[in-house]
Amino acid sequence: MTRLDRLTPALLTAPSALVYAGALLVPLAGVLALSLHGFDFQDGILPGWNLANYRDLLTDPLFGEALARTFRIAALTTLICLLIGVPEAWIIHRMDPRWRGPMLLIVVGPLLVSVVVRNFGWMVLLGTNGLVNQAMTALHMPGAPFRLMFTELAVVIGLVHVMVPLVVLSVWASLGRLDPVLERAAISLGAGRFTIFTRIVLPNVMPGVLAGALMVFCLSASAFATPAMLGGKRLKVVSSMTYNEFLNTLNWPLGAALATVLMAAILLATLLWTRLVEKRALRRLGEVARGGPA
């Protein structure tokens, strides 16, 4: 091998590596550095380096509450997305090919609508005089109308709406790699539809299910617009607190610390998920799970 041959891989990946470093690593380092400064309303960002922002956050009960809420919403959203998305992908997979295209388009529909429009739609539906409450009142539901807007439930509904397609698409990709004859083999051995789904299909599409779950969790935990619009001002999550510090209070160092803590928390959750859940669930699938050829 010549010297140039050895350098080729590095040279070929250099442009994307530069973009990656310039657009992601440098700003991240900037945020981290910013979070280590103090802040004063008269003097702005102070020159000294310290961990005061982090100490303030960890001792602030409001922050603890927001962090817990962030993860509660993300976890609930992920769970509901899986319960809806996995069977949905399976149903569409089994559909007549003629219907599959239109159905997939309907599934990804929410992703094609602007976040503001989508959430405004939910505000109309979930308001005290909204369609949902009108329907429930008409049906004489005890306790109706309910307070739906500005609740965690509203945030979860709004997030599930836009996140389900991610699970469907992720599981859909896994289903495409599933040998369709497996189903007939299971039938010939006496398995019913439900058993085939739980015992044969689900274990084999686990890589897609877990990848979809991880995507939904990370995006839900860092979502900003939906919690802000459907949760309102009083229902704070970490991302809306961050936004507030940067743009309203103008305490950039505290905002940077908030962003750093959120990122670290999501990273930690991801690592735990991969180590505890994904590894165990995928061990049976062997090479397939590691993504390499058998």
Partner: protein, 353 residues
Amino acid sequence: MSAPAFLTLDGVGKDYGTVTAVRAVSLTVAPGEFLGLLGPSGCGKTTTLQMIAGFETPSRGHVLMEGRDLAGIPPAKRGIGLVFQSYALFPHMTAAENVAFGLEMRGVPKAERAKRVAEALAQVRLGHLADRFPRNMSGGQQQRVALARALVFEPRLLLLDEPLSNLDAKLREEMQVELRALQRRIGVTTVLVTHDQAEAMALCDRVAIMQGGRVVQIDAPWQAYDIPADAFVADFLGRSNRLPARAASGEAEAAGHRFSLPPELADRHGEILLTIRPERLRIRCERTAESAPGLDGRVQARLFLGGFWLYTVETALGAFAVVAQNTGATPLDEGAAVTLDWDAHSLRRLEPA
């Protein structure tokens, strides 16, 4: 067949829209029999198998098992063991778990399940690989797991869909011997679908040769080979030479060459299509006396196949394939002048396909 039929197909056919995949197949399979559905791709053999298994609903006709119509009985309730071309082993289950699945679905208690799985795996000589995943097994081993999985719940009927076509030649031969012995031992009625005539002939008690959605001939393999129903069967099963001739008073004439016809064709007159198998032709290198019967020719090509030589001999009647046993003698050279002759009773008349 004199034995009572175990499986009966009565005019079974399948249409997909305006396309007819299977016209009308009627056949019976005796208990314990090994029947082959043999034909080129698109002949309807796989569709026929799917209708027996219950994955396809016949457009007409009936499938009967022990006299009972299977119409409306879902595949899971038919008690049929299936082996697929791709094996279709569950990738996330070990060999033992794959085999156990059918028993579990039938509610066999765990202790008995383990015992029967061990027996089934031992039967296909895989007892030592029970805890392996399919991805860590060779094609032949996966094939045997698939077989154990299909047999463990003691199905009344075993259906094999091109079970050996993914194996290499040597392994395929070994598996043929093993499959045949296993089927004999267990005595399960078996239907095999294949496009490989050698495989069908090696394994089956009888073969149903299919073409264009129809069964052309059902016979024991050697009978179908010896007396093919038509030109299609003659060409599809093994090699054959065609010999168009004119018949008159017990003799045939082609391109100035006269030869006698077998007694059963003695009363034929006019155009006749004859056929003769390559191994029924005798090849001699020396020219014989004018009086001796024989067809002169020249060796155009030769192929060494181990146990025998396959010669292509160019004659006045066209090219002939000739199989000569490898006796250890020096083979004939390409270009050598030779004489072919044969016994009149080796000739068969063909219906044009």
